[in-house]
């Protein structure tokens, strides 16, 4: 990265940090690009050069978070672990990553449910991020498939979409989770991953013996 790019990158990061603070303080809806520019000490026009809308800022937040999650996963992935543990690890890194921004996420979710919102899970902008995420999941599933640990049972075209919905569901559960250290989310994650993957392998879902 050249000096100019790295300076640009630093400005982008600064705008993001300031925006997150403002979103958490004033609410996502009430924060304007003008507020952000002012707090950053950057001209409003320059700010628009980086982010046309505040939704773009939110998008940028998710993109960076995803990159960091994938990077950390690659570093920590236990090579011999079963698939359920690998997916558990990935999702728990995600949750850990967004923990400091929980309030911001709550604000975003109310926005993102509007079908017209750029942040809506099926908007064009979200699609790009979604594809990036699912590509990554796909590579994890693929290697499990190669080692014979996992089979899509002919659901190839659906499996990634199903995983995406599962992932969103876990996120929503986490946001509403009032248990100590949100441990219910992790119990749900652990048990549902074991349940789904065992069922796909044709085993008794939670490892109990079957009885007639």
């Amino acid at each position: 990265m050249g000096r100019r790019e790295s300076k640009k990158e630093a400005t982008k990061k600064k705008i993001l940090e300031v925006s997150l603070q403002l979103f958490q303080k004033m609410g996502f809806g009430r924060t304007t690009m003008r507020d952000i520019a002012k707090k950053c000490g950057i001209a409003l026009g320059t700010t628009y050069n980086y982010f046309p809308t505040k939704e773009h800022i939110a998008q940028y937040f998710f993109e960076r978070a995803l990159d960091e999650v994938m990077e950390r996963y690659r570093r920590e992935e236990p090579p011999d672990a079963p698939l359920e543990e690998k997916l558990f690890l990935l999702l728990s890194i995600e949750l850990e990553k967004v923990t400091p921004y929980e309030e911001f996420l709550n604000l975003i979710v109310t926005h993102a449910v509007l079908p017209t919102s750029r942040l809506h899970p099926s908007s064009m902008d979200s699609q790009r991020l979604k594809m990036k995420y699912l590509d990554f999941i796909g590579s994890i599933l693929e290697s499990a498939k190669e080692s014979g640990e996992f089979s899509t049972l002919g659901f190839d075209s659906m499996i990634l979409s199903a995983f995406w919905v599962f992932h969103l569901g876990i996120m929503m559960f986490w946001m509403n989770d009032q248990s100590r250290k949100k441990e219910d989310t992790y119990i749900l994650l652990d048990k549902s991953l074991r349940f789904i993957l065992n069922a796909m392998k044709g085993k008794a879902p939670l490892g109990q013996k079957r009885r007639k």
């Binding site: 558990f88 441990e183 992790y186 119990i187 652990d190 009885r211």
Partner: protein, 416 residues
């Protein structure tokens, strides 16, 4: 859970319809079948609570004429099954509890557990200062699931046809196990118990109880000294001499009386896996999640029961009358007296005879179990008594497997 409840109720209703106009024998058969399918359905659906139900089953089977036989049989079949945690979940739980990862806290922390414990798993590690430790880590959320699971269990049990008196007994037993279970999942309480035992037994250098490392323990993580030793099966493979096995029996019986009569506090989980044989005749005691305190009155009465001369049915009867377990107009009075007398001969007589008693005798063990079941059927046991009996039977079972011969009289005289 709701669906399962509906299933049980539905089957009971169906059975009720089938019984209309059926012969007495056919009715009993229908009841039996309904109980069996309900029992299977209820217990199979509760994988996480199996440990609790196993205890409940043991208590109920010792306690009475309470649950229909098929339920008891299914309860007795249940095995302790803590849900396994993979490395990632285990590390997360450890970090949530202690604020640091196991690798930061310990040297050589082993990711694979070496044992399953009460609703968790045990890992080997070393403290930074070098001491080998066993780190017990609990599956998340168990403590909070107890009450909801027990509420469900009570709903299920209420579909069984029982008399009001029987319900009372079942409810009491369920409640005792629920409270017991709350204590068992709290590792701080277990740490307290371990330290109490270590204090009470500090003069006994033949018994080793692990040291607790409080700095690395919480209510869901328990770090203890790792005691090197063999479990019963491996110990027996080394063909220890009769004298050595006898000495161990003697020592453990002495330890039991000391707990029951001097401390009024017993280690009530006499599973053979909770004893370690250290090779030099010393014994390691593990797993203090299940202990029971007795009040002075219980201990004194029990001491008296031991002292009653063998065959003295009048004194024996008087003893049980005090607790209202036998009354003058009791229709089962003679039956009860006979059962008590038989049990006294089977169990207590060895404490009155100054000679080696061979616990290897399988007939003795069978008679004890049969006698207890008989007492339970006749309503001659109490909830407090059940954990005590469980501990004693566990000990007899261990002696039986050891093939130990013990002069019970000599040991008993020190305490009674």
């Amino acid at each position: 859970m709701g669906l399962m409840g509906a299933g049980v109720v539905g089957r009971n209703t169906l059975a009720g319809i089938r019984k209309i106009g059926a012969s007495e024998e056919r009715r009993r058969e229908i009841d039996q079948k309904t109980h069996e399918s309900n029992a299977i359905r209820i217990f199979d659906s509760m994988s996480q609570m199996k440990g609790a139900f196993m205890k409940l089953g043991q208590m109920l089977s010792l306690q009475a004429h309470t649950l229909p036989e098929p339920y008891l049989r299914r309860l007795a079949d249940l095995q302790w099954e803590a849900p396994p945690m993979h490395g990632t979940l285990m590390r997360m739980q450890f970090r949530n509890e202690t604020g640091r990862s196991p690798e930061e806290v310990f040297d050589g922390f082993e990711r694979e557990p070496f044992a399953a414990a009460s609703l968790g798993q045990v890992h080997r590690a070393r403290l930074k200062s070098g001491e080998p430790v066993a780190v017990k880590i609990q599956y998340p959320g168990i403590d909070r699931s107890i009450d909801s699971d027990f509420a469900n269990l009570k709903t299920m049990l209420s579909t069984i046809r029982l008399s009001r008196e029987q319900y009372g007994e079942v409810w009491n037993a369920v409640e005792e196990v629920r409270l017991h279970f709350h204590r068992e999942v709290d590792y701080v309480q277990e740490a307290d118990t371990i330290e109490e035992f270590r204090r009470l037994l500090r003069d006994r250098d033949d018994v080793r109880i692990p040291r607790v490392y409080r700095d690395f323990s919480t209510s869901r993580v328990l770090t203890m000294e790792f005691i090197e030793g063999q479990h019963l099966r491996d110990y027996l493979k080394g063909k220890p001499s009769q004298a050595e096995r006898d000495a161990i029996g003697d020592r453990l019986l002495d330890l039991f009386f000391r707990q029951a009569f001097d401390f009024g506090l017993i280690h009530a989980d006499p599973h053979p896996g909770n004893y370690l044989f250290l090779g030099d005749g010393r014994i390691g005691l593990l797993d203090f999640g299940c202990s029971k305190k007795f009040d002075r009155a219980f201990v004194d009465e029990h001491r008296k029961l031991f002292k009653i001369a063998i065959g003295d049915i009048d004194v024996l009867e008087r003893h049980y009358k005090k607790f209202g377990m036998i009354t003058d107009d009791d229709p089962k009075r003679e039956q009860k007296k006979a059962a008590l007398l038989k049990m006294q001969r089977t169990d207590i007589s060895k404490y009155h005879e100054d000679r080696l008693f061979d616990f290897g005798d399988a007939a003795h063990f069978r008679e004890i179990i049969g006698g207890l079941q008989e007492l339970a059927k006749l309503g001659l046991t109490t909830p407090g008594f059940v954990l005590y009996v469980r501990a004693k039977i566990g000990l007899y079972n261990l002696f039986h497997q050891l093939g130990a011969r013990v002069n019970c009289h000599k040991v008993y005289r020190k305490y009674v």
